[in-house]
Symmetry: C2
Subunit: 133 residues, 2 copies
DNA sequence: AGCAAAGTTTACGTGCACGTAAATGTGACG
DNA sequence: CGTCACATTTACGTGCACGTAAACTTTGCT
């Protein structure tokens, strides 16, 4: 990490467990904007913050395009009221979807737990039979 | 719906909001096993139960291959102990992943709520300025 | 100066989950 | 018997998120 607080592509890859291809791809999709030192990319603190959000968004099943929208939320500072309102809507929509998804996930977890309990009971019975032989 | 309690491909599409292509694709991937009446597919109650699980699995971001594994959970009846154990492992692994995903989702929801609160406060301030003019 | 390591662009390849088009078959109805 | 809606198979196409290979420049070190 240089004194300007930037990181090379390899340092980024090691730090966040992604490939160079991925970082260049995200730049092409305008999710990251590393500065150039000659021909090389230098990733700033801002790029790192955005990458963290990208990776988390991906874990939630958001597409890169959706993530691009969400990232705009973090750049609201210089926006106009209408722009803020529009972006707010998108975020609220995502929020509702996420809450719904969490609820479904919760019930699915319950069901899976039941399944596991069932499997465990079957296995316990089988062990009994084995032990009796 | 015929008296045998089966449905045609179109009835299935209407009932579950999927395309014929999707149902044939799932059959090719061995997720569904509709019976044939001549050349036509007839989807049974079992197929419908499995389709519901497929669609829910997809909402959780599971791949069709992962879903195929999960579906095996519901067919445990005639399996052997080792098979049950193997399947149990897969389910447990999924369960841990789902719980982790739900936890992440929960914290992401909190953060998004904060963001929305922030946007709302900015918008409120802007309304104040507008009203004062 | 020279060489290897690491970076760059360009561009074709891949896996997944279907979409879409073409050609053909089938069955109920007037 | 015709035809018309709906079904089927076969096979190529698509969008996404990168992987991978080739050819090249730049940088760090001896």
């Amino acid at each position: 990490m240089t004194k300007e607080n930037t990181m090379t592509i390899r340092e980024m890859c090691d730090a966040y467990d992604v490939t160079p291809r991925t970082l260049r791809f995200y730049e092409a999709k305008e999710l990251l904007q590393p500065v150039r030192q000659g021909t090389k990319r230098l990733f700033t603190k801002r790029d790192r913050a955005r990458l963290k959000l990208i990776l988390r968004g991906k874990r939630f099943g958001f597409s890169l395009e959706e993530i691009r929208q969400l990232l705009a939320l973090y750049d609201l500072g210089d926006s106009q009221a209408t722009q803020i309102r529009k972006t707010r809507e998108i975020a609220a929509k995502h929020l509702n979807g996420m809450i719904a998804q969490r609820d479904e996930l919760t019930s699915a977890i319950e069901e899976l737990r039941d399944q596991l309990g069932w499997a465990d009971r079957i296995l316990a019975d089988m062990d009994q039979v084995e032990a009796a032989q």
